[in-house]
């Protein structure tokens, strides 16, 4: 499994979206999120975006007030994951128009939907923005 989990966390450390590709109990999730968020939020802009944590590698990137954290296997390509994060943000930008924390809070389902279009079982399956968004736009139209 390439990607193990994707987290979106705000500056205060509150989780805004959590998607896991392996089963963890709620306690395990809470502990993991706590540790990772503490580790990553303490780092500054001049430091690199990769943190090793337990048997994961965390690749993170900050956009305005929101941190995107992706936990990957050790042999995953870090730069590709950074590009993936950027792609995710761009996709959300295109859909919501200048995406912000509130958009994700109020449209959590859509955010999950986009992620599901992009990633299955921890593998990135889709990297074209229009392909990712077309089902969502269709659904928006019909509903």
């Amino acid at each position: 499994m390439g990607i193990r989990f994707i987290l979106m966390v705000n500056k205060q450390g509150q989780t805004r979206l959590a998607q896991y590709y392996e089963y963890l109990t709620l306690e395990e999730r809470r502990a993991l999120e706590g540790e990772i968020v503490r580790k990553c939020l303490a780092r500054n802009e001049q430091q690199c975006s990769f943190v090793e944590h337990r048997n994961y590698k965390i690749v993170y990137r900050r956009y305005a007030s929101l941190f995107f954290l992706v936990g990957v296997d050790n042999d995953e390509n870090e730069l590709a994951i950074l590009e993936f994060i950027h792609l995710l943000v761009e996709t959300m930008d295109r859909h919501f128009g200048n995406v912000c924390e509130l958009d994700i809070m109020f449209h959590l389902e859509k955010a999950h939907f986009m992620l599901e279009e992009m990633v299955m079982n921890g593998c990135i399956v889709e990297t074209s923005k229009s392909n990712i968004l077309s089902p969502i736009q269709l659904m928006d139209k019909t509903s």
């Binding site: 390439g2 430091q47 090793e52 390509n77 730069l79 389902e109």
Partner: protein, 980 residues
């Protein structure tokens, strides 16, 4: 009822309301959530699907963002999934994929619903079901739904097909037999003209191959085509990951892929792809010099980039190269060393690792020196990282990098004095290990230990306790190298030792005992030689007394430099002078210890050692003073040891007083008893301790009739009883300090408690009996407050950058072609046991599920479909299938190479087989015959298809073919390329 349901619907709060309410926070978050949860519990039971699904939506939100439990609602999730409206279904599936897991008991209820949705005409419903299945599929679900997934794998709708490919990974994982049904279609998607499909399929294969690369070797031609043809960076990265795994199994594959990978590396503008190329080359293609050279050039680009991400990755890549191509690190050493002072701790760590990789026996001392200076200025965490890596690098493989042990031992002493040092345990181990293994370094070791022991400020630092314990042990064990045993005794008994934890104090007391025995023995030995020399050789005595006058002046200066106890020596000095000198004369009959003593210590130091009556009685008084209070200590270890030593002094004192007062005439007779006792003790301590092999325990034969594995549970019960009081006894005196014990300490204790069970052999037991003291579990929990100044103030050091330059210069030296530097003294012998000091690592076996999966994959790829599982295949089948798999690699690769590289003939150095070349020309002919690339591809695919689909028949034929040439080509099993 209907009325209430309408009311509920009308007044139900939506998810948006909930989020807004949460943001307003009128009543506090937890109160708000519990109120909302109450509503949800009520609403979710509603018969109205809209109310129900909205409630579930809210619950899912709370579950994923606030981490609330939603397993109780599993049945409602199933209900919502069954809804006919797409909007509701969507909510239900999201909830299911968020919350269901293998243990969810309602899982069986959704099989039919999933099947219905998978066969739906609405592609979005199908994709919802697939999404969900990819997250929650269990063995049952996968088995029941495999036919549907098989159909979807060739769906005409891209959205559906892509997701069907994605779900395959999970299905294969939980239900390996699905491979038999779906694998072929999956491979077909690999050759799809649609890059979307290829991307998804390659992703799946990348994951499959990372677990068991061997099974996917036959697909190498397909992957190769993608590697060469694809323009999509995502796909290329994944394909390269697959090849990184495959080439490790099939070296001939490396030759083919190294060129396209280098091409990608040179051409691409995307850093991610470039880095993947670099990583593939340095991990899997490290034998290809030119490729590695190109990769190192790229690494350098990363290293000098301002982006910390690229820098970090560059360092990481460099550390992969380091093991095989150290020159690459040396080429970039300036950057590496500059990174030691980077702002990012992760980058600092990586560069530290690289600096340690550069260490060789010629520059180890200089690099360590500079690193220790770095450590002095770093934050505690990084300081200890530095110290830890110096210790582990220098200690690796029996200190193979160390030539000058005197230097190393003094470095250890210096490291102990660094304020942040928390590596007490490692330093302790190395001190003792070096002491036992390297004979020549013992004098220096004792000197360093003395410097540590004598400094009262060090006693207050709990992190140094372990080091001090080692220093005390070393100076007791090798006391014969000490320049001044009296001073040593003072250090061991100084009042501030009360700050130490009892277990370490016990080591101190025991060492004091050893020192005492040494002093007494030397004293009596002296007197004996005097007596014998005065009796037997008058001439000699005459000569000696002549030289007394010569020695008069050095004696004065020597005593002036003496420490406190030595000052009192002056009184008893004169009459004993001859004994001092005569000590060197009768070397023939002297005992071994004295000989080494005479050789190693300088003349001036001998003078300080002068063991006179006064000094001995002072010594005895000192011990009695210091240890007297301890004989009533609450700590059993301390009490017992103190009493031992006091009792011994009592015994000696009864013998000595007469001799102390009386003249030399009757001295001999009265001393006899005392010296006999001392000789016995001396013998007990003088036997040398050697290192013990890790496997020593295994080599002890198990006695007949002893069942080691029987009744171990009983033993545990007994041991539990025994150990409980013994561990608590250490902390009896300091119950308050218990609170300060951190988690790490608890771990430490538990580790130590488990130790005794492993040390049950007679060898170790004997060793322990003699030097049981050293084996005491030591505790760090004694943190006493101290008003002493800290051990050492931070010294003002020159600027960091100076250090960096220093290090650059130093490593430059190591660039110079390696030649053994001419050291003043040769490397001392390091005792090492020939076998067994290395720990053998047991290869981890893949778990059964992976085994099943790979077995199934092999079966499909190699055509053994008739046999259900890999475990049931007989050996001959296995070998033939393996052979066939390799055949395929070789069938396709050369022809493809020609397709892609034009007419360029590649000499195949690995397999100079005549059959091969014949077939190659055949392949070429074929190419000329049908120059259309696509035509040939199709043709090949058809062939492959035939091979794969013709089950029993195909296998039979293949086996026949395989058996034929086996007789012709001798090493066919190794290089099975006969089908070319």
């Amino acid at each position: 009822m209907a009325g209430s349901s309408i009311m509920e619907t009308l007044f139900q709060r939506t998810l948006d309301d909930i989020i807004k309410g949460l943001r307003l926070q009128l009543i506090g978050e937890s109160a708000f959530i519990s109120k909302a949860m109450e509503e949800i519990r009520r609403e979710i039971k509603s018969t109205d699907p809209h109310t129900k699904s909205t409630a579930l939506q809210k619950l899912t939100y709370f579950n994923s963002v606030h981490g609330l439990d939603m397993s109780w609602a599993a049945f409602h999730v199933v209900e919502v999934i069954g809804s006919s409206r797409f909007a509701h279904k969507k909510i239900g599936y999201l909830a299911a994929s968020q919350s269901f897991h293998d243990g969810t008991d309602v899982m069986l209820l959704i099989t039919n619903q999933l099947r219905k949705d998978l066969t739906s005409t609405n592609e979005f419903e199908v994709s919802l079901a697939l999404e969900c299945l990819s997250r929650i599929a269990t063995l049952d679900l996968a088995r029941d739904l495999t036919p549907e997934i098989f159909t979807l794998l060739s769906s005409s709708k891209n959205l559906v097909r892509k997701k069907a490919i994605g779900v395959i990974l999970r299905v294969f994982g939980v239900y390996p037999d699905a491979v038999r049904v779906c694998f072929k279609r999956l491979v077909e998607n690999l050759e799809s003209p649609d890059p979307q499909m290829v991307s998804a399929t390659v992703g799946v294969f990348c994951e499959l191959a990372s677990k068991d690369p061997g099974s996917y070797l036959p697909l190498a031609p397909e992957f190769y085509k993608i590697l060469v043809d694809s323009k999509n960076n995502w796909i290329l990265i994944k394909v390269m990951k697959i090849f990184a795994k495959l080439v490790q199994l099939e070296p001939r594959l490396a030759k083919r892929v190294v060129e396209p990978i280098c091409e990608h590396m040179a051409r691409t503008g995307a850093k991610s792809l470039m880095f993947e190329c670099v990583r593939t080359i340095v991990t899997s293609l490290a034998e290809y010099e030119s490729a590695v050279k190109h990769a190192v050039v790229k690494i350098r680009e990363l290293l000098i980039d301002d982006d910390p991400n690229l820098k970090y990755l560059g360092l990481q890549a460099l550390s992969i190269v380091a093991s095989k191509h150290l020159w690459a690190v040396l080429e970039n050493k300036e950057v590496v060393i500059k990174s030691l002072s980077d702002a990012d701790p992760n980058i600092k760590l990586e560069s530290l690792r690289l600096v340690m990789a550069m260490v060789s026996d010629s520059n180890v001392s200089e690099i360590s020196r500079v690193l220790v200076n770095y450590a002095l200025k770093s934050d505690p965490e990084f300081c200890n990282e530095i110290l830890g890596s110096i210790l582990s690098t220098c200690g690796r493989n029996f200190y193979e990098k160390i030539i000058d042990f005197d230097w190393y031992v003094s470095l250890l002493g210096e490291m102990s004095r660094i304020p942040h040092c928390q590596k007490g345990e490692e330093v302790e181990n190395q001190f003792i290990d070096i002491g036992m293994r390297v004979k020549d370094v013992r004098p220096e070791l004792v000197r360093v230990a003395r410097d540590l022991l004598i400094d009262p400020a060090l006693l207050g630092n709990p992190f140094l306790n372990r080091i001090l314990s080692a220093a005390a042990w070393v100076s007791g064990e090798y006391v014969e190298f000490s320049k001044n045993p009296f001073e040593l005794m003072e250090a061991l008994l100084q009042p501030r030792t009360s700050l130490l934890p009892p277990s370490i104090r016990a080591v101190y007391i025991h060492s004091a005992f050893k020192v005492l025995i040494f002093c007494l023995h030397s004293y009596f030995f002296q007197r004996k030689t005097i007596a014998s020399s005065s009796l037997s050789s008058n001439d000699l005595a005459q000569g000696v007394s002549d030289s007394v006058s010569v020695r008069e002046s050095p004696k004065g200066s020597g005593s002036a430099t003496c420490e406190a106890p030595a000052n009192e020596l002056d009184g008893g000095f004169n009459p004993r002078i001859p004994s001092q000198l005569s000590k060197d004369i009768p070397t023939g009959n002297g005992d071994e210890m004295i000989v080494t003593h005479g050789q190693t210590s300088s003349f001036a130091s001998l003078e300080k050692n002068s063991f006179t009556e006064d000094s001995i009685s002072n010594l005895l008084n000192l011990i009695e003073m210091a240890l007297g209070p301890l004989s009533v200590s609450h700590e059993i270890e301390l009490q017992e040891r103190a009493r031992n030593i006091l009792g011994f002094i009592e015994l000696i004192k009864q013998e000595i007083p007469g001799s102390l007062d009386q003249g030399e005439g009757n001295f001999e007779r009265e001393q006899l008893k005392a010296s006999e006792v001392i000789n016995v003790m001396r013998d007990a301590f003088s036997k040398e301790l050697g290192p013990v092999s890790i496997s020593a325990q295994e080599r002890v034969p198990v006695p007949d009739g002893l069942m080691l594995n029987e009744n171990l549970c009983d033993l545990e019960k007994i041991c539990g009883d025994v150990q409980l009081p013994s561990t608590s006894s250490f902390s009896l005196g300091t119950p308050h300090s218990k609170e300060k014990i951190g988690v790490s300490l608890l771990n430490l204790q538990s580790k130590e408690e488990s130790e005794p069970s492993t040390e049950s052999t007679s060898l170790l037991a004997e060793h322990r009996k003699r030097h049981g003291l050293y084996y005491l579990s030591s505790e760090k929990n004694e943190i006493s407050s101290t008003d002493y100044p800290p051990a050492n103030e931070m010294k003002l050091q020159d600027d960091l950058h100076d250090d960096a330059e220093d290090l650059v210069k130093l490593t430059e030296q190591s660039l110079v072609p390696k030649k053994k530097p001419n050291h003043a003294k040769p490397r001392p012998v390091v005792v090492r046991l020939d076998e067994g000091d290395e720990v053998s690592i047991v290869a981890k076996k893949p778990d059964s599920k992976d085994d099943l999966l790979s077995g199934a994959v092999r079966d499909v790829l190699f055509g053994n479909e008739a046999i259900p599982t890999s475990s049931q295949r007989n050996p001959s089948d296995k070998s033939s299938s393996k052979r066939k798999g390799k055949e395929k690699v070789n069938i396709d690769l050369p022809s493809e190479l020609k397709e892609n590289l034009g007419d360029e003939e590649k000499p195949d150095l690995g397999n100079p087989s005549s059959r091969r070349s014949k077939h190659r020309t055949h392949g070429k002919e074929r190419r000329h015959r049908s120059p259309g690339k696509n035509d040939e591809e199709r043709e090949e695919n058809v062939q492959k298809e035939k091979q794969k689909s013709s089950h029993r028949h195909g296998r039979h034929k293949a086996r026949q073919r395989a058996d034929g040439p086996l007789n012709v080509v001798a090493q066919a099993a190794v290089i099975p390329d006969f089908l070319l």
